[in-house]
């Protein structure tokens, strides 16, 4: 099923000429941003110098750390008056990355979500429970407006209160669920303990964190759904930039809205389809916050085979990161953010270790820190106060609950050369 068959199946010259037109427009739009004006000046490229799509390679990359320099609104290409919504996502340090949307941006975004959901077979007959975080996280409102655009009956349940979520699925006859895969596993387990097999549910849309094919099998069996993978990030509006079709063998990128490249993360060299590398995305319809050749840090490849569904080129499901970003319960966490917070707390020593594991299908993050000797008063409650303070300040920045372990001085590993402070024990565990 198609939401917008013409755009979804646009290929060849017709697609290239649309992409070219939109890329030139995006470069001009980006010139409203001082960062890009300078970058374009220095690299000697402007919109007129782009004659074919591969000319995009003349443009420098944009990195996530660049966005930090513009906090909060430095990357907006339109007057703030035209920005009708703001979301934030993790930054690489204490300050989040701010993304803005014009009214047109919100329309574009919900159009893409509508395409994705229609592609999985959902229609205005369906009842859709959106069990992800509403608010600054893009997953909530993004899917919400896309589902409403289709005309689905939307249950904006958000996260938490799992028993109530299950009652709503059964009482409202919910047919489609959107959640992080780990929360969906948790929901399946609670449903089993409540003795229900969620008979109305048939479609599961899962994203915001990487999940394996084994997890897909488990989710499909336990929830009785067909599971579809969702990809996106706030910098490209949010989720829904790429999505699985009925074939469920790779994710279709929406090529009328994004130009996709795969590069060697070390050299920056552009790789041919079929080669794994870092995904670089240039959104070409974004008004409020255009980005040029944005390095996502996600590792994937462009698939060579044409899809029987008739849509454009797909990317493989994500297999990892080119940087050290962690995804904890669907939220992106950069070790540099953790370091930033810890360094700002005088009682905490210089060394730290982060341990990530999955317990009962949910991600747990434990951070070990040393307390500086001069801050040891001998009182237990002072230590507890420090422990709480670290936990609260991390929560405020990361939006993720962490367990803080105070360890004895000089017991943490000291690194010579590149520190390996993160131990991720999740592997294929779910």
């Amino acid at each position: 099923m198609f939401w917008n068959k013409e755009m979804e199946t646009l290929k060849g010259d017709a697609l290239e000429s649309l992409q070219l037109k939109r890329l030139k427009w995006t470069i001009r739009q980006a010139e409203n941003i001082p960062f890009y004006k300078k970058m374009l000046n220095e690299s000697g490229v402007d919109a007129d110098g782009i004659r074919k799509i591969s000319d995009i390679q003349k443009l420098p990359f944009t990195r996530k750390t660049d966005l930090r320099t513009g906090y909060p609104f430095g990357f907006f290409a339109v007057p703030k008056k035209q920005v009708v919504r703001i979301h934030t996502t993790s930054g690489t340090t204490g300050k989040p990355t701010v993304v803005g949307y014009t009214r047109k941006d919100l329309d574009n975004w919900s159009e893409l979500i509508a395409r994705n959901m229609t592609m999985t077979g959902l229609t205005d007959e369906d009842t859709f429970q959106n069990a992800v975080n509403y608010g600054l996280f893009t997953g909530g409102l993004g899917f919400h407006y896309g589902a409403e655009k289709i005309g689905m009956t939307v249950v904006p349940s958000g996260t938490g209160n799992t028993k109530r979520q299950i009652e709503m699925i059964n009482d409202f006859g919910v047919t489609a669920l959107h959640a992080t895969p780990s929360y969906a596993m948790h929901l399946a387990e609670v449903a089993e303990s409540m003795g229900t097999d969620l008979p109305t549910l048939k479609t599961g849309l899962f994203g915001a964190e990487p999940w394996s094919d084994n997890m897909r099998k488990a989710l499909e069996e336990r929830l009785g759904v067909r599971a579809f993978d969702s990809y996106g990030m706030s910098e490209m509006y949010g989720p829904g930039a790429a999505f699985e079709c009925e074939e469920r063998n790779g994710l279709h990128f929406w090529h009328d809205s994004y130009i996709v490249e795969i590069i060697d993360p070390k050299t920056g060299e552009v790789l041919e389809p079929g080669n794994k590398g870092e995904l670089v995305v240039t959104p070409i319809v974004k008004e409020a916050m255009p980005l040029l050749r944005y390095r996502t840090g996600d590792i994937t490849m462009i698939l060579e085979d044409e899809c029987p569904c008739g849509r454009g080129a797909k990317i493989a499901r994500l297999t990892g990161r080119s940087d050290d970003m962690l995804v904890i319960r669907g939220i992106n966490v950069f070790p540099s953010q953790i370091e930033d917070v810890l360094k700002s707390i005088p009682e905490v020593g210089d060394q730290f270790m982060v341990y990530v594991d999955r317990v009962n299908h949910l991600d747990e993050m434990k951070i070990e820190v040393e307390i500086k000797k001069e801050f040891f008063s001998g009182e237990l409650r002072d230590l507890e106060r420090i422990q709480r303070k670290i936990q609260e300040q991390l929560k405020a920045i990361l939006q993720v609950r962490t367990e803080i372990a105070l360890v004895e001085p000089e017991s943490l590993p000291r690194f010579e050369g590149k520190a390996k402070r993160v131990v991720d024990k999740r592997g294929d565990k779910f």
Partner: protein, 148 residues
């Protein structure tokens, strides 16, 4: 003046040691103290999430503190009071009620039965007035130097 010197005389230096809650830590502390020829009169462990504070009353507190710091422990002194108690029913009540009536809060306490009778070690918010009230009520306190 007398009050101050009194409270000084009766303030015992407890050694507080930060310890992770894992096997072998108490043994490492005890081994260190043995090597420094320090005798432990009393100790207690207060535990929290994943860590604890080991509290010790010893015969040579300076030597003990130095040794524990040298072998890598995070240590500090804490001022406590040692009260001699009657080793009979009601002994604790007598002591606790003196402090309770005076509005002095006991933050923590532990007891040991030494060669010369039972001793209650207490950590209070106001050491000076606690010493004063206890002496006034006729309680016998452990002197800092003797500590037995």
């Amino acid at each position: 003046m007398t009050e101050n010197s009194d409270s000084c005389k009766y303030v015992i230096r407890q050694i507080s040691v930060f310890s992770e809650n894992k096997p072998g830590r108490l043994s490492a502390i005890a081994k260190g103290l043995e090597e420094a020829d320090v005798n432990i009169y009393a100790f207690s462990i207060a535990e929290s999430k994943g860590f604890g504070v080991v509290r010790l009353i010893v015969d040579k507190s300076t030597a003990a503190l130095k040794k524990l710091a040298d072998i890598g422990f995070m240590v500090s002194y804490t001022d406590v009071i040692g009260i001699k108690m009657e080793d009979r029913p009601g002994g604790l009540y007598e002591t606790a009620s003196i402090l309770g009536d005076a509005g002095i809060n006991i933050e923590y306490a532990y007891a040991y039965s030494g060669r010369n009778g039972a001793v209650l070690i207490i950590r209070v918010d106001d050491v000076t007035s606690a010493v004063k009230k206890l002496l006034a009520a006729g309680k016998e306190l452990i002197k800092a130097e003797e500590c037995l």
